[in-house]
Every structure is written in C-alpha cells, then in structure tokens.
C-alpha cells in the first residue's frame, strides 16, 4: 500500500509539473512572437486585437499536440521570419549566431598569447 501511495504522489506531482509546464510553454511561445501591429511588443505583452487572435490560434495548435517549432514554422510561413523574436537557425542567420562566439574565442586566444609570451620572456 505504501508503495502505491508513493507512486501515486510522484505521478501526481509530475502531472502538476507538466500542467504548469504546459502553461509556461504557452507563455514562452507568446513571448517569442512579435506583434505585427505594435511598436516593438510581443504577443504576450500586447493588448491589441491581432495579439488576442494569435493567442487563440497558438492555444489551438498546442491542443493539437503541435510542437513549439511547428507552431513557429506555421506562423513564419504566414507572416515571414519577422514574427519570431528568436532568429531561425538558417543559413542566412549563420553569421548572427556564430560571430559572437567566434569573437570570444579570438579574444581568448589573444589573452593566451599574451600570457604565454611573457612566460617565454621570463624564461629568457
């Protein structure tokens, strides 16, 4: 009996976690979508009519068990890439995602070279 209770509690708490996770996934999607008729607001923050309609569509799609990426792809096909705040991982955005880390590595290299040089100097 005790084992059954424990399993039940674990299952229940995980399902609660899932329920709140679903909610937070909804809001996460809202925050990643750009309101087309506003000046720089997300669907989550906007009070416009357009935002309200998009929220309904996203809720429907989530209920149909569509994944986040499928929802974004759907909206991008209708409105263009501008509607998502997270740039897609496509060829045209390659430079955007890679350049910051590239610069970071270059910076690290410079520091490495500077400290190594002085080690050599010290040795000499």
């Amino acid at each position: 009996m005790k084992i059954k209770k424990i399993i039940f509690i674990i299952y229940f708490s995980f399902s609660l976690l899932q329920a709140s996770e679903n909610k937070s996934e909804l809001l996460e999607i809202y925050k990643n979508l750009r309101c087309l008729v506003c000046q720089g607001q997300s669907i989550a923050d906007s009070n416009s009519d357009f935002a309200a309609t998009v929220k309904l569509v996203v809720q429907d799609l989530l209920e149909e068990e569509k994944t986040k990426d499928e929802i974004y792809a759907f909206l991008i096909s209708k409105y263009g890439e501008w509607i998502v705040y997270q740039p897609t991982f496509s060829k045209s955005n390659l430079l955007l995602w890679i350049l910051p880390y590239f610069i970071f590595i270059v910076g690290g290299l410079i520091i490495f070279l500077i400290t190594r040089k002085s080690k050599n100097n010290k040795a000499n």
Binding site: V54, L56, D60
Partner: protein, 174 residues
C-alpha cells in the same frame, strides 16, 4: 606589413558599415507582409455565413482564373470606403471572382452591411474568432489577397483598396 593589412581591413569594414547605415536610413522600417507575394496559400475551409453546412475550400478557388479574397467587417469604417472598388471588380466576373471573409463580426450586422452597400462576393465566409484569417496571414482589417488559379499570391493589399491599387489589380488580371 601585418599592421598595414589589418589597417586596411578595419578601414574597409568601417566604410562598409557606414554605407549600410546610410542605405538603412532609406528603408522603411515598418513591417508589412508583402514579402509573402509568390508563396501559395495553404489549404483552408471556410463555412458560409448564412448556412454553416456549405463551405468553400482551396480546390474550388482553382476553378477561378483569379480570386480576390477580401477580409471585411461591418464595424470597420475603411471597409465602407473600399467597397465601391470591390463592386466594380465584381462586374469583371469573367476574369476575377471575389470572396468575402467576415472577420470577428455578427452575422446580422454583416448581412445588413452587404444589403446596404451591395454584395460583390460570390461567397461570404465567416470567421467569428479571427482564427481563419491568421492562416491567410492577415493582420489588419480590411485586407485583401489576390491569387491566381494555382493559388499563388500575386498581390497583397493591407488596408483599404484605393484608386491606384484598384487599377493595379485590373492590370494584373488582364
């Protein structure tokens, strides 16, 4: 020499960036979805406003040489202004057929609207919650999409149709 190459690179990069800024000033920074011209509209199913059993889908549109899908509502003031162009286009019925999508409206108000101003549509679909319009990529009312018989979008008009856009449509459907 090493330093000279890096100087040249830095200078060219600065000149290039300043040039891009200058060009960027000329660009319009407000977004419209005109870049979707050339893509095809996806499959859809709209129920008729008077009889929810009747519906229209993308297959039926392929029978028309050109279809103008117009999104309107009785509460929308600019819709009244563009209506005369729609009526005028509906008379060119050999080349172009017009579908109306009644957006977030009450059935009776829409019917009264069309009785008062005239009905240019051969089918009036209803979109009570606005969700169907999202699948057409609509974001403002009124909005119109012109498609050909392969369902490719050839023109998008955001806002009411005016004289110059009306003439453009006439040119496109020749």
């Amino acid at each position: 020499m090493k330093i000279n190459i890096s100087k040249i690179i830095i200078f060219s990069f600065v000149i290039f960036s300043l040039f891009v800024f200058w060009q960027g000033l000329k660009k319009n920074n407000s977004y419209d979805t005109k870049n979707l011209i050339g893509s095809k509209i996806s499959s859809f199913k709209l129920s008729e406003i008077n009889n929810n059993e009747q519906y229209i889908s993308q297959e039926k549109l392929k029978q028309n040489k050109y279809t103008l899908i117009n999104f309107f509502a009785s509460w929308c003031a600019p819709c009244r202004i563009e209506h005369k162009y729609l009526l005028s286009l509906s008379r060119e019925s050999k080349k172009i057929k017009i579908i109306g999508v009644n957006f977030k409206d009450k059935k009776n108000n829409a019917i009264n609207f069309l009785e008062e101003l005239g009905n240019p549509y051969y089918f009036v679909g209803e979109d009570l919650d606005g969700k169907a319009s999202i699948s057409f990529g609509i974001y403002g009312i009124p909005e119109s999409i012109l498609v050909d018989n392969e369902l490719t979008i050839i023109k998008k008009i955001v806002g009411p149709i005016d004289q110059s856009q009306y003439e453009e449509i006439l040119k496109l459907i020749k």
